[in-house]
């Protein structure tokens, strides 16, 4: 079973060389810490920056330079600044190769719910609906079950949707799964020490298991 850092570490393996990536808030943010040294990746922050660097040192803090999570950040050499319209323009034009975000629920058709829980104060969808409506490739980073122990991988989402038929892959504390175009969660890898049986029990949507399921490999 993986902790949050483990999920981030596994997702980092999915990042291809020379790609533009948008990281959501939460576990996705941690992914940046695990990018292999030989991989060139450029992070977009949808409030208007390509080439986002690490958090600043105390002396470098600039209130005019924040990321989409409103944290202070830095820019790497070769960074570019732009406005929110161009930012979502490049998202909609599918210039971002990979979007990594958290979710409350994912359906076996690849629908995602991650912005609203009826009866609770709604904070808003921010840029999530734009990202999921446009991304070429979306990986969801989330826990396999919610705090009540219920599966978050479902036949259909019960919560209000953020987007439809968009999630391509899911990485949880238990497994890596792809969402098939025809529907269904295809089990690709097990977390270290996690059995297929455990994953089956935690998955309410259609789970597809073909052959031997390997354990995730970490360097």
């Amino acid at each position: 079973m993986l902790d949050k850092e483990g999920i981030a570490k596994r997702i980092a393996q999915e990042i291809q060389n020379n790609s533009y990536v948008n990281l959501g808030i939460g576990i996705p943010t941690l992914v940046a810490n695990y990018i292999p040294k030989d991989i060139h990746v450029c992070f977009q922050s949808e409030n208007g920056l390509l080439g986002m660097g690490p958090f600043p040192k105390e002396s470098e803090v600039d209130p005019d330079l924040i990321n989409a999570g409103k944290q202070t950040i830095t820019m790497l050499p070769g960074a570019a600044l732009f406005d929110s319209a161009m930012s979502f323009g490049m998202i909609h034009a599918q210039k971002i190769d990979l979007t990594i975000l958290g979710a409350m629920e994912v359906s076996e058709m690849g629908d995602i719910a991650n912005w609203k829980i009826p009866g609770k104060m709604v904070k808003g969808m921010g840029g999530a609906m734009d990202l999921v409506a446009s991304a070429k490739n979306i990986i969801v980073a989330m826990q396999h079950v919610n705090k009540a122990g219920e599966s978050k991988l479902l036949p259909t989402c019960s919560l209000p949707l953020t987007g439809i038929q968009c999630v391509k892959k899911i990485v949880t504390e238990l497994a890596v799964l792809s969402v098939l175009p025809e529907g269904g969660f295809k089990l690709l890898e097990r977390a270290p020490g996690v059995s297929v049986e455990t994953i089956k029990k935690a998955t309410l949507g259609k789970l597809i298991i073909e052959g031997e399921i390997p354990e995730m490999a970490f360097d």
């Binding site: 958090f55 040192k57 803090v61 209130p63 409103k70 202070t72 840029g127 409506a133």
Partner: protein, 231 residues
């Protein structure tokens, strides 16, 4: 050059009336028109519809206007981190329309470009699409979203000249450019106001034609919402 300079925030906003719609630049607390907001609070104008990506925090930004109950409706993409906002929303005093962040940006851009509406894929298959026209182009569905029609835009730039030309710094650019272009009356506050000719024409983010009033603001607090440091 046409001179857009006004003395201060009070003069810039003097004709804002109860019930007006305002586009307010900024993302979180980054790049918000601090001086205009302070002047609106002082003026006490009410029943405002505010279009802004966020709603400030309890004691800063649009939060200051919410605290005084000046806002009737917020149109935003994300309104977390504001207890008074939540209280007014739950009590029904405040109306909130949540829209995708890209849709917010494009509805401003459309206004600034004279486009009556734009098509966006954001919100397809969600409650955002309810009651809206869906249209398929080349196999993909899009929502029709109308340009904003706002009387005022209030934006904050880094540098500006008296002709109204604006330059923004880092990520404080965000919605400020497209809102500046979208306002029927656009008010820009800047950290440094210079004479025409002092800004490089090649580096201007918003040409002065879009700006109706400009002034040099003061006492910029530039509060940081989430100061995060590398160790």
């Amino acid at each position: 050059m046409i001179n857009k300079k006004v003395a201060n925030a009070e003069q810039a906003i003097e004709d804002v009336m109860d019930g007006d719609t305002l586009l307010l630049g900024g993302f979180g607390l980054c790049g918000i028109p601090e001086n205009c907001i302070a002047a609106l609070v002082k003026k006490g104008v009410t029943n405002l519809t505010c279009v802004s990506n966020n709603a400030g925090v309890d004691d800063f930004g649009i939060g200051l206007m919410l605290h005084q109950k000046q806002v009737k409706k917020m149109i935003s993409s994300y309104v977390g981190e504001n207890a008074e906002f939540e209280r007014q929303l739950l009590s029904g005093e405040l109306d909130v329309e949540l829209i995708p962040q890209g849709t917010l940006a494009f509805r401003c851009m459309a206004a600034g470009y004279g486009m009556p509406a734009i098509y966006t894929p954001a919100g397809i298959g969600t409650e955002v699409a309810i009651g809206k026209e869906v249209r398929n182009f080349k196999g993909k569905d899009y929502l029709l979203e109308e340009a904003f029609d706002a009387k005022f835009a209030m934006v904050k730039a880094w540098k500006g000249d008296t002709a109204g030309n604006l330059i923004f710094k880092a990520t404080s650019r965000n919605f400020n450019t497209v809102m500046a272009m979208a306002g029927k009356i656009t008010i820009a506050e800047v950290e440094e106001l210079v004479e025409p000719g002092e800004l490089d024409p090649n580096q201007i983010h918003v040409p002065g034609i879009y700006v109706h009033r400009i002034f040099q603001g003061d006492h910029y607090e530039k509060r940081i919402e989430k100061k995060t440091i590398s160790v």
